[in-house]
Amino acid sequence: MAPKNSKVTRNPNLIPGIGKYSRSQMYHKKGLWAIKAKNGGQFPHHEKKAKPETTSEKPPKFYPADDVKKPLVNKRKPKPTKLRTSITPGTVLIILTGRFKGKRVVFLKQLPSGLLLITGPFKINGVPLRRVNQSYVIATSTKVDISGVDVNKLDDKYFGKKAEKKKKKGEGEFFEAEKEDKNVLPQEKKDDQKLVDASLIQSIEAVPDLKAYLAARFSLKSGMKPHELVF
């Protein structure tokens, strides 16, 4: 059946709370007289369904001494951070904080946590596959062709800290064991980096001067007014 576009009420409001038709007029409009007539002068009456027998609940054995307030139910689900419209896959970003401040870097995608996934590419400027917050980044209007890059397997878990193994409390071995664990970057991550960067570097080299651009750091020089600069 074709859906009704707007619901039409039988009793439109003159003022909120006061309908146009009186109680007796509505009785007639709703056709209650016809329902009564159909049922032999009375409204149709249905017997109530019998409720199933429930075993009576025993009073609890233990009441807590003080009344503890229960916190209200919170069903809020945080949404991923809204991505600035100027940031699209392939945009060159300028990182503003951290050890890579000033580096110009290629944006790959936004991760479910809201952070941005970026890469140097590593060979060009030493920035690896990394997460960065949108707030600490300037988006330039320069875009790189990112179509050949596959970033599906990279997500927040890939970048999370590995759970620390329980350390044995042998005094002599204690310091050496710690050192070994931290320094090595797993070969798998290095391969991922190379894979992502391979096609990126090709599309970067297609544009003249872009490689040198990404290799250089951004800095404010004399006379540059950030609020007047077009990035």
């Binding site: 060159v92 300028i94 110009r104 209007s141 320069t142 077009v230 990035f231």
Partner: protein
């Protein structure tokens, strides 16, 4: 010492303050000691204080308060836009506008180009110096 650019009917001026900042306009009438009536092909004729105008060297031949069509035609015949864009003042403004719109990447490419140009100039200069030294 005497003035070279006069406020007169047909004087082309640059608006240097206000909503119409940066626009080239023609003085079409003088209202009183402080104000003039100005007009340009793409704007409604308005009054403006002289303090908001910077007079240029360009002057066109029009009657007092010409019709819009006549004004546009007179400006075209005198090639006001062309003269302006060829004047050093006009060229400076065009360059300023271009620079303001430069992208970060464009500024980088500009820097490389300036370094390259500087290098070439230095090469030529050193060649000339060598010639001087040898003679």
């Amino acid at each position: 010492m005497p003035f070279k650019r006069y406020v007169e009917i047909g004087r082309v001026a640059l608006v240097n303050y206000g909503k119409e900042y940066g626009r080239l306009v023609v003085i079409v009438d003088v209202i009183d000691q402080n104000r003039a009536l100005i007009d340009a092909p793409d704007m409604v004729r308005t009054q403006i204080n002289f303090k908001r105008l910077s007079l240029t060297d360009i002057k066109i031949d029009i009657n007092r308060v010409p019709k819009k069509k006549a004004l546009v035609q007179a400006m075209k015949e005198a090639d006001v836009q062309g003269k302006w864009e060829r004047s050093s003042w006009g060229r400076k403004l065009i360059v300023q506008k271009k620079r303001a719109l430069l992208n970060d990447f464009d500024r980088f490419k500009l820097m490389l180009a300036r370094i390259k140009r500087g290098g070439l100039i230095r090469q030529e200069l050193s060649k000339l110096r060598k010639e001087e030294a040898s003679t």
